[in-house]
C-alpha cells in the first residue's frame, strides 16, 4: 500500500500516468462520446506531443522534482539489480522504433493521407455560361423578392431532390447512397464548417463550377462534383442555395461593410 502511495507521489510515475491517461482519453475516450468518431492518427500524435511537452515541463520546473524524476531512469541505467530491466529496455526501445518506422514505410493499398484545401480562395470574377459575373459582394438575388421566398425554397427543394440527393443525402449531411464511393466525400451541409462559414456567392461558385472548376491550390483534388452550370440555370442554382440554408437552419456569411462604402 505504501509502495503505491509513494508511486503516486513520485514524479516519474505521475508523468507516465498522465501520458497513459491522455492517450487513453484521446484514442478511446473521444470516440465513445455521443456523435463522435475516431481521432485521426495525425491529431493523436499532435495532442500527445503537446501533452509530453507539458509533462516534461512539470517534472523539470522544480529542482527537487527533477532530481526525483531522474532517479528511476538513473537506477535502470546503472544499478546491477536492474540489469534484466536494462537489457529488456535495450531490446524493446529499438524494436518499438523499428515497428513505428516499418508502419510508416510499409506499402499499403490505402491512399496516403492528403491535406486538402476545403475552402479554396474564390476568384473575384467568373464567367457563367460565357457571361462575366463578379462574385465579390454578390448577394443571392432571390432574397430581394421576399414575398416569393417560400416558392423559391420549394423550387430549390425540387432541384435538390432531382440532382443533389444521391450524393449529399436526404438529410443534407453528405451521406447520400453514392457517397461511400467517393473520395473526397460529398460536403455535409449540416456541419458548421461548410455552408455556415461561406457567403452565398462562394456556394454559387462551387455549384456552378464543381470539381473541374476548382483552383489548383487544393491539389491533389479529385472531387466528382459536376459543373452544374451545364445543367442548371442561374436562378435554379440560387434557388437550391436558398433551400440548403433554409433546410439546415444555417445562415450564410454576409459581406463586411467597410467605411468607404466598398463591400
Amino acid at each position: 500500500m505504501n509502495g503505491i502511495r509513494a508511486a503516486i507521489r513520485h514524479p516519474f510515475w505521475q508523468a507516465l500516468a498522465i501520458l497513459v491517461i491522455a492517450f487513453v482519453a484521446i484514442e478511446f475516450g473521444i470516440p465513445v462520446l455521443p456523435d463522435s468518431a475516431d481521432v485521426p492518427a495525425s491529431v493523436v500524435l499532435q495532442y500527445m506531443v503537446t501533452v509530453l511537452v507539458g509533462v516534461l515541463i512539470y517534472v523539470s520546473d522544480n529542482e527537487q522534482r527533477w532530481t526525483q524524476f531522474r532517479e528511476p531512469i538513473r537506477a535502470v541505467l546503472v544499478e546491477p539489480r536492474l540489469t534484466p530491466v536494462r537489457w529488456s529496455l535495450l531490446a524493446a526501445v529499438p524494436a518499438l522504433v523499428g515497428w513505428v518506422a516499418y508502419g510508416q514505410v510499409a506499402t499499403r493499398v490505402e491512399a496516403p493521407p492528403i491535406l486538402r484545401s476545403i475552402h479554396p480562395a474564390p476568384p473575384a470574377e467568373i464567367t457563367f455560361r460565357s457571361r462575366p459575373m463578379t462574385l465579390t459582394g454578390l448577394e443571392n438575388p432571390l432574397r430581394a423578392v421576399r414575398d416569393s421566398l417560400p416558392d423559391f425554397v420549394g423550387e430549390g427543394k425540387r432541384i435538390y431532390y432531382q440532382n443533389c440527393l444521391p450524393c449529399h443525402g436526404d438529410h443534407l449531411d453528405g451521406q447520400g447512397h453514392f457517397a461511400p464511393g467517393f473520395n473526397p466525400l460529398p460536403a455535409n451541409f449540416q456541419d458548421d464548417g461548410t455552408i455556415a462559414q461561406l457567403t452565398e456567392s462562394f456556394v454559387f461558385w462551387r455549384i456552378a463550377k464543381g470539381g473541374p472548376g476548382l483552383p489548383r491550390e487544393g491539389a491533389p483534388w479529385n472531387s466528382a462534383m459536376p459543373a452544374w452550370e451545364d445543367f442548371l440555370t442561374e436562378r435554379e442554382i440560387w434557388a437550391v442555395i436558398l433551400f440548403l440554408y433554409e433546410q439546415t437552419g444555417r445562415r450564410p456569411r454576409t459581406w463586411e461593410k467597410t467605411g468607404d462604402g466598398h463591400d
Binding site: 523539470s60 484545401s117 491550390e217
Partner: protein
C-alpha cells in the same frame, strides 16, 4: 488576361526579365537573401528600442547596471549591423541581376524613396557609431542626456528606414486600386504608392515584432554567455540579462497578435480572395503550425519564469499553483493547434463523415482558438505577476483588498473570454468576428488594471530576500534558446504566408510573375526553405556573437581579477 496574350508576354519577357541563378534557382536565391536580411534587420531595429529604454532606466533610477546592459545591447548591434548591410546588398544585387524587369518597375515608382533610404541608412550608421563609441566619453551630466538623445535619434532613423522598405513590399501586396497592369509606373505618385492599404498595419506589426525578436535574440546571447560563464558574477550578470531579454520579448509578444489581427483584417478588406487563400485556403495549414510554435513560446516563456522562481526567496508560496497554470497552457495549446480540416487517411475521413471531426471540429474554429489564446495570455501574465510578487511583502493597508480586486479582474476577464468564446458558436460569422475584439479588450483591460494596482501595491514593500541572480539551472537557459529559434522560425513562416498569398504575381493583379518559378511553392518546400534561412541566420548570429565575446574576454578577466563587479565590455 487571355492565355495567348499571357504566353506572348512570357516569351517576350523571358530573356530580359529574368535570369537564372546557378544550382538553387533565382527564387530560392532571392528568398534566402531577403529572409536573412530581414532577420538581421529585425534584430538591429528591435534592439535599439529597448537599449534606449534601458539607458533611460539607468539615468532616472541611477542604476549603473542598466546602463551597462544598454551598452552591451548596443555592442551586439554593432556586430549585427554590418551583417544586415551585407545581406541587404546581396538582396539588391540579386534583384537587379535576377529580376531586372521587376526591379526596374519598382524603382520607376519608388526611386526617390530609395535615395532617401540610402541617405537615412548613412545617418543611422553614423548615429550608431557615435552612440556606441561615445558611451564612456559622454557618461556624466548633460553629456549623458545628449548621448541618450543619440539613442532616440538612432531609433527614429531606423524606424523611418523600415517604413520606407515596408512601403515597397506592401505595394507588391496591395497596390492602390487605381493602378492597373497597363499603368505606366512613372506616372504613379510615390506617396500614393507608399500609403497603400497594408502599409501601416505592416509597419506597426513589424515594429512590435522587432522588439519581440530583438529581446529573444538578446536573451539567447545571454544564455550562451551564462552557460559559458566562469565566475558567479558573470553568471549573475548574464542571468539577469537573459531575464530582461525574455521579459521584453514576452511582454511585446502579448500585444503582437492584436497587430497581426489588424493586418489580417486589412488584407481581407483589400481583397477577400487573398484573405481566404491566407486563412482558409492552402496557406491555412501554416496557421496550425503557427499555433503550435506560439504554444511553444508560451510554454517556454512560462517555464523560464517558473524555474527562475527557484532563485527568488518567497516564491515557494506560489509553487503549488504553477501546475494548474501549466494545465491551462497545455489544454490551450491543444485547442489552439486543433486543425479544422484534419490530415486523415480515406478510412479515417469515412469514419468522421468528412475532413472535419464531428466532436473535435468545434475546437478547430475561430471561437475556440481566440478563447484558448486569450486564456493563455492571461495565464502567462499571471505567471509573471507571481514572479514579480515573489520576494515582496506589501505594506500598504489595502494590500489584501488590492489583491482581491486583482483576482476579481482575472476572473472577470476569463469569464468574458469564455462567454464570447461559447456564444460565438451560436451567431453568424460576421457577428463572431466582432466578438474577438471584446475578448481582446477584456484581456488588455485586465493586464493594464492589474499592473497599475500591482505597482501601487509594491510601494514601500518589504523584501523577502534578494533575487539570487546566477542561481539558475542550465536547463532554464535552453528555454531561452528555444524561444529565439522559435521566434526566428515563426518570422520566416509568417513572412512566407504574407508574401506567398500574392501567388503568381510580383505586384498583386498588376504585374504578373512570368518566370519559371511563378508557381506558389508547396508548403513542404517552403518549410524547408524557411528552415534553411533560420539555420543560416542562427549560424551567422552565433559566429558574430562568438567574435564579440572574443574581443571582450580579456577585459572581463582583468576586471574580475581586480575584484570589481563590472561585467561586460
Amino acid at each position: 488576361m487571355a492565355d495567348g496574350a499571357l504566353l506572348l508576354q512570357a516569351v517576350v519577357d523571358s530573356l530580359p526579365a529574368y535570369r537564372e541563378f546557378p544550382a538553387i534557382g533565382s527564387r530560392a536565391a532571392v528568398w534566402i537573401a531577403a529572409e536573412v536580411h530581414l532577420m538581421f534587420a529585425a534584430f538591429v531595429l528591435g534592439v535599439p528600442l529597448f537599449a534606449v529604454v534601458a539607458e533611460a532606466i539607468g539615468i532616472f533610477n541611477k542604476e549603473d547596471r542598466y546602463d551597462r546592459l544598454a551598452k552591451e545591447f548596443t555592442r551586439l548591434l554593432l556586430v549585427a549591423y554590418s551583417a544586415t548591410a551585407i545581406w541587404g546588398v546581396v538582396l539588391t544585387f540579386f534583384l537587379l541581376t535576377l529580376y531586372p524587369r521587376f526591379f526596374r518597375y519598382l524603382s520607376a515608382i519608388f526611386g526617390p524613396s530609395m535615395w532617401l533610404y540610402v541617405g537615412l541608412f548613412f545617418l543611422e550608421s553614423f548615429t550608431l557609431y557615435l552612440y556606441y563609441y561615445g558611451w564612456e566619453r559622454w557618461k556624466q551630466g548633460r553629456a549623458k542626456w545628449a548621448h541618450w538623445s543619440l539613442g532616440i535619434l538612432l531609433n527614429v532613423w531606423g524606424t523611418i528606414v523600415m517604413f520606407i522598405a515596408n512601403s515597397w513590399l506592401t505595394y507588391m501586396m496591395s497596390p492602390p486600386r487605381d493602378v492597373a497592369p497597363a499603368t505606366d509606373p512613372t506616372t504613379i505618385k510615390v506617396w500614393h504608392a507608399i500609403a497603400n492599404a497594408t502599409w501601416m498595419p505592416i509597419n506597426v506589426h513589424r515594429l512590435i515584432a522587432n522588439v519581440v525578436f530583438g529581446g529573444a535574440i538578446v536573451a539567447a546571447y545571454a544564455s550562451y554567455r551564462f552557460l559559458a560563464a566562469r565566475s558567479d558574477e558573470e553568471r549573475a550578470h548574464y542571468d539577469w540579462m537573459g531575464y530582461v531579454g525574455n521579459f521584453i520579448a514576452i511582454s511585446a509578444l502579448i500585444v503582437l497578435p492584436f497587430a497581426g489581427y489588424w493586418l489580417g483584417r486589412e488584407i481581407y478588406e483589400y481583397d477577400e480572395s487573398m484573405g481566404i487563400t491566407m486563412m482558409g485556403g492552402f496557406m491555412s495549414w501554416l496557421w496550425v503550425i503557427q499555433a503550435f510554435l506560439i504554444a511553444v513560446l508560451f510554454l517556454a516563456g512560462n517555464y523560464y519564469l517558473w524555474v527562475g522562481m527557484e532563485r527568488i526567496p518567497g516564491a515557494e508560496r506560489f509553487r503549488p499553483y504553477t501546475k494548474w497554470l501549466l494545465a491551462i497552457l497545455v489544454v490551450g495549446a491543444i485547442v489552439w493547434g486543433t486543425p479544422h480540416t484534419m490530415i486523415a487517411t480515406s478510412k479515417e475521413i469515412a469514419a468522421m463523415g468528412g475532413s472535419h471531426h464531428p466532436f473535435l471540429g468545434v475546437l478547430g474554429v475561430m471561437s475556440a482558438k481566440n478563447t484558448a489564446v486569450n486564456l493563455m495570455i492571461l495565464t502567462t501574465f499571471l505567471s509573471f505577476l507571481m514572479y514579480r510578487r515573489a520576494n515582496k511583502r506589501p505594506v500598504v493597508p489595502w494590500a489584501r483588498t488590492g489583491t482581491q480586486i486583482q483576482a476579481a479582474m482575472f476572473i472577470v476577464a476569463a469569464a468574458v473570454v469564455l462567454f464570447y468564446g461559447i456564444r460565438g458558436y451560436f451567431v453568424e460569422a460576421i457577428v463572431r468576428i466582432g466578438y474577438s475584439v471584446y475578448q481582446v479588450l477584456a484581456v488588455l483591460a485586465c493586464i493594464v488594471g492589474v499592473t497599475v494596482i500591482d505597482v501601487m501595491l509594491g510601494r514601500g514593500a518589504v523584501s523577502r530576500g534578494d533575487i539570487q541572480w546566477g542561481k539558475m539551472p542550465p536547463r532554464s537557459q535552453y528555454a531561452l534558446f528555444i524561444l529565439a529559434v522559435t521566434f526566428t522560425w515563426l518570422m520566416g513562416l509568417m513572412g512566407f504566408a504574407r508574401s506567398g498569398i500574392r501567388q503568381h504575381w510580383h505586384v498583386w493583379q498588376v504585374m504578373r510573375d512570368t518566370s519559371t518559378s511563378a508557381a506558389t511553392p508547396a508548403l513542404g518546400y517552403a518549410a524547408e526553405m524557411i528552415s534553411v534561412c533560420v539555420l543560416i541566420f542562427l549560424a551567422l548570429v552565433a559566429f558574430v556573437f562568438w567574435l564579440g565575446g572574443l574581443a571582450e574576454k580579456p577585459t572581463f578577466v582583468q576586471t574580475e581579477a581586480t575584484g570589481g563587479v563590472h561585467v561586460g565590455h
